[in-house]
């Protein structure tokens, strides 16, 4: 979504260069401060020390000013975002000229909201956003899990906003939900630092996991944090399979399904989150579990996602016992029905599910 805020007028190449320049500036400033902090270096003579220090400091200051100049040059190249439609060309499609079908008023309001959003989404305002600033470490396309777009409040008349709010409420009812943003306008404006789901306290994560653990008696969840705050779960489902779930906050990053009798620990006793199962059936289930992670997505309510994922996972308790709901058989190509429907949880062979 980081790209989403960049209007077509922005020179992306220059933009990425500018980010690199900012990085360079940061590092040179850091170096300058480091130099100051470390003080004089040991040399034979006092004179030599002072000289060395001054020249080192001068050098670092020079590099700071050079990097700053570079950044200024690039910032001119980045260019102003154009005031075009934020929807690019596909946005034109929604401007359906069939008058009898599309009420003009709602469209106008919609248009207002778009422009409103556009204001808020101009890159300059997003730059101020701390969350966005964090992402500067990577290239612009690689936002890290920021599945929300958030924007600064627009400076418009209250009246218009009021209407817009009403209208968007109506529109939302008509399943015209287009993106998560529009909800944000109708509901009271969310505070800027909305994606708190990325930095949930470990205690909260523990609670959510514990609750899920208690929910399913045949499923036991073991939580550990070998790498800092990211939790890793070892889910043992009956005597059927074991699942290793790597979390980041409450988002599931990665999951591996292994057989009940397979070793899930490395030589030194840590959870082995990389090696895959030796059995084809569990490799298949691993793929399906990854699919499930892509399917169950609700960035605003990550705990619901985890819960629904676990509920779905639990349906594998009958992995070897349930015949396929379509063909009625147990085996197809040597594999049992490995697919579980995301809604009904019914068992299907991978090839029988469509």
């Amino acid at each position: 979504m980081a790209d989403g805020v960049l209007s077509p007028g922005v020179n992306l190449e220059a933009f990425s260069q500018a980010i690199a320049a900012i990085q360079a500036l940061r590092s040179s400033v850091t170096r300058a401060f480091d130099c100051l902090k470390d003080g004089m270096r040991h040399r034979e003579t006092l004179e030599g020390r002072e000289k060395g220090f001054v020249s080192a400091f001068q050098d670092s200051l020079h590099s700071v000013s050079r990097d700053l100049g570079e950044l200024e040059r690039l910032s001119n190249l980045v260019g102003k975002p154009s005031e075009n439609h934020p929807l690019h060309n596909s946005g034109l499609l929604s401007l359906d000229p069939v008058q009898d079908k599309t009420p003009l008023y709602s469209q106008l309001l919609q248009a207002y909201k778009w422009s409103n959003k556009d204001c808020g989404n101009s890159p300059l305002s997003t730059l101020e956003d701390p969350a966005w600033a964090d992402d500067f470490k990577v290239l612009p396309s690689r936002t890290q899990q920021n599945d929300h777009c958030y924007f600064a409040p627009a400076s418009s008349t209250l009246e218009l906003q009021y209407h817009a709010g009403l209208a968007s409420g109506l529109l939302n009812q008509q399943s015209l939900k287009r993106s998560a943003n529009q909800m944000g306008v109708s509901a009271k404006r969310r505070p800027k630092a909305q994606p708190t789901t990325l930095v949930l306290p470990p205690q909260y994560v523990d609670d959510v996991i514990n609750r899920i653990d208690r929910m399913f008696p045949e499923m036991s969840i073991q939580l550990s944090r070998p790498n800092g705050t990211s939790a890793m779960l070892l889910v043992t489902l009956g005597k059927v399979l074991k699942v290793i779930v790597v979390m980041r906050s409450l988002f599931i990053d990665r999951t591996i399904v292994k057989g009940y009798n397979e070793n899930v620990y490395t030589e030194d006793g840590k959870l082995d989150i990389w090696s895959k199962s030796n059995y084809q059936v569990f490799q298949k289930v691993t793929d399906h579990a990854t699919t499930a992670l892509l399917h169950y997505q609700l960035p605003q309510m990550p705990d619901v996602v985890v819960r629904s994922f676990m509920t779905w996972l639990r349906s594998y308790i009958k992995l070897f016992q349930a015949p396929c709901q379509r063909c009625g058989k147990f085996l197809q190509d040597g594999l049992p029905p490995t697919w579980r429907d995301f809604r009904t949880l019914e068992a299907f062979h991978d090839t029988c599910r469509q």
Partner: protein
């Protein structure tokens, strides 16, 4: 009593011990003589205090009481009368009594004085008090004198202290050989052979199997002119390092594109990131390094080994610790390289690994060359080495160099800890997991997995492949994301990576329509040889290392996304989807794949729009829109 021997009698004084009883056999039981305190207590017990107080009847003190009990006193006096001869403390009592008498008199006089009727006290006129000043003056003088004495003592002490500090410093500068040797012994293994002191540089005790003996000799540094000023860094202890371990060494790992025919875009720039800042940074590090005390260098040195600019500007002879660490590093690098080249010769691969002098060349992917080289330079040939270094300072793969060091250390650890103590203790020694293989009926696969022992080279090649694949995937996605603005590509890289695996989630969205159409979400698991793509609809696609495959795949996903978006939007707007296909075989020939197409009709059926989406050779997307009924005109709008 007569039973006691003559000798015993002659020793003991009769008065000291009293015989308590004489047994029937003639043996005597003695009473222990009283100790001083016991004796005192006994004597004190004999004092009749009531009698004593009674005998003070003539004291005039506490008024009426004494006058009231003269009779009592008389009686007691009588009692005393026959005792005095027994009394050893008689004189004491007498003087006490006289003292009491005196005080009683004084008391009475004072009592009379207080009334001021019968008696008054007048001050006696004495000499004027000149001596009053004198003592003060004397005091001052004596104080001054004693203070001076104290000061002198302190000064003496301070002098002695400063002398000893100076001596210490002197000693420190001179650093006698033995204390240096002691310090050396704390960090290195030493043993005495004949009249030589030999030390061990090798990692053998840490589990290394490298055959190099790695011994150094400790020598006393005597070639110093004692008359001249001793240079500051003079050290009486020096070490003699085997000639082949002198200088500095590091392992260099790099990936080069062998030929331009590999046909991918990323490679050229992939490993050439602008690194203009790295050189000054390295120099700064170097300075810090030199200024640190020797103990802390162990940790830093490792960091340091990995950096290219290994040119120490040595002022004079380096300290022995520095020397030894450098030599040990050379030894480790040699071991790594020896291990790698041995494996390179042994391992059969489709394209054989080439070992040329100090370089191992391997081909992880066709057209790609991984080279691992041992760069070893002794100090005198520094200029030559740095020249070769400057050719390509940027293509280092520091990660792999670091990992090589880590791997060899892991390898060392493995040789040390492969066998464990048996439990129960009577069982023979053996490999930890292997011991379970029999009684727990491990099957063939389990046993194979226990025995699999991948070499250093295989591991590092696998890591190199993965790094290459990962970087190029990132590059491909990024370049697509920056070139194509609609739809948008987002990549969320997982925060946890393995040396052989990493994953990225790719989302394709249209801005403003994220809720309506989120059909395309992919998870890319980047492995060693290939990329596994898990699609949101459950499909799993395996892509090879060829960049084109990933790019084509992403482009096709994007075109599918567009069609899906149109379809969803049409539904929302009340239009009818007439037809929909991800791959239409009709229309103009596309350069890549097939176009996706959709036909929608307006709610009242008057209009129909058909659109097809394809990518042309510039990787631009085209949407061809055809309006039916009114215009039979084909309008092509280009994005």
């Amino acid at each position: 009593m007569s039973g006691a021997s003559a000798v015993r009698i002659s020793i003991e004084s009769a008065c000291e011990k009293q015989v308590q009883e004489v047994g029937l056999d003639g043996s005597e039981t003695y009473l222990q003589p009283l100790s001083m305190s016991q004796n005192l207590a006994r004597l004190a017990q004999r004092i009749d205090f009531s009698q004593g107080s009674g005998s003070e009847e003539d004291e005039p003190g506490p008024g009426g009481r004494d006058w009231a009990s003269p009779g009592d006193a008389e009686d007691e006096e009588g009692l005393v009368k026959f005792q005095p001869s027994l009394w050893p403390w008689d004189s004491v009592r007498n003087s006490l009594r006289s003292a009491l008498t005196e005080t009683c008199v004084l008391y009475d006089v004072l009592g009379i004085l207080k009334d001021k009727k019968f008696m008054t006290l007048d001050p006696v006129v004495q000499d004027p008090p000149p001596p009053k000043q004198n003592p003060q003056f004397l005091q001052l003088i004596s104080k001054k004198k004693s203070l001076a004495g104290a000061a002198q003592i302190l000064l003496k002490g301070a002098e002695r202290l400063s002398k000893s500090v100076a001596e210490n410093q002197e000693n420190k500068r001179q650093r006698d050989f033995n204390s240096e040797l002691l310090r050396l012994r704390q960090h290195w293994k030493l043993r005495k052979v004949g009249d030589k002191i030999l030390g061990d540089l090798s990692y053998r005790s840490a589990g290394s199997l490298f055959p190099h003996h790695g011994t150094f000799e400790v020598i006393k540094n005597t070639d110093i002119d004692l008359d001249k000023k001793i240079p500051e860094d003079y050290c009486p202890l020096d070490v003699q390092i085997p000639s082949d371990l002198e200088g500095s060494a590091y392992i260099k790992v790099s990936i080069q594109k062998q030929a331009p025919d590999i046909g991918d875009l990323g490679t050229v720039n992939l490993f050439k990131r602008p690194l203009p800042k790295s050189k000054p940074a390295a120099e700064v590090k170097l300075l810090i390094h030199l200024s640190l005390p020797a103990e802390n260098q162990v940790r830093l040195l490792f960091q340091f080994q990995l950096c290219t600019f290994y040119e120490i500007e040595i002022f004079g002879a380096p300290h022995w610790q520095t020397k030894l660490e450098a030599a040990q590093n050379v030894l480790l690098c040699k071991e790594i390289f020896a291990q790698l080249s041995r494996e390179a010769v042994q391992i059969k691969s489709q394209i054989p690994h080439i070992v040329v002098k100090n370089q191992i060349i391997s081909q992880p992917f066709p057209g790609l060359q991984l080279s691992i080289s041992l760069c070893h330079s002794s100090n005198d040939k520094k200029s030559q080495k740095s020249a070769s270094d400057r050719q390509s300072p940027e293509d280092h793969l520091y990660v792999l160099e670091h990992n090589l060091h880590q791997l060899i250390r892991e390898f060392h650890k493995q040789t040390l800890s492969s066998t464990v103590m048996p439990h129960p203790a009577s069982a023979p020694f053996g490999h930890k997991r292997m011991k379970l293989a029999g009684p727990q009926a491990f099957d063939k696969n389990d046993i194979n997995s226990l025995q699999s022992n991948e070499g250093l080279l295989e591991k590092i090649i696998k890591q190199a492949k993965h790094i290459f694949l990962r970087r190029r995937t990132a590059r491909t996605i990024d370049s697509l994301a920056s070139r194509i603005e609609d739809p948008q590509i987002q990549a969320h890289w997982s925060n946890i990576n393995d040396v052989y695996e990493s994953s990225v989630k790719v989302l394709i969205t249209s801005q403003g329509y994220e809720q309506i159409c989120k059909s395309i979400q992919l998870q890319l698991n980047i492995g060693v040889e290939q990329i596994r793509v898990v699609h949101r609809d459950g499909r799993v696609i395996t892509l090879s290392h060829q960049e084109q495959e990933l790019q084509d795949f992403l482009l096709s996903q994007m075109s599918q996304h567009q069609v899906h978006a149109v379809q969803q939007l049409a539904k929302v707007m009340g239009w009818h989807v007439l037809s929909f296909s991800n791959h239409v075989g009709l229309g103009p020939v596309e350069s890549i794949g097939n176009a996706s197409a959709i036909t929608v009709a307006s709610p009242n059926g008057d209009y129909a729009i058909s659109g097809s989406i394809s990518f042309d050779c510039d990787h631009k997307m085209y949407l061809r829109v055809r309006f039916s009924s009114c215009f039979l005109l084909e309008s092509i709008s280009r994005y």
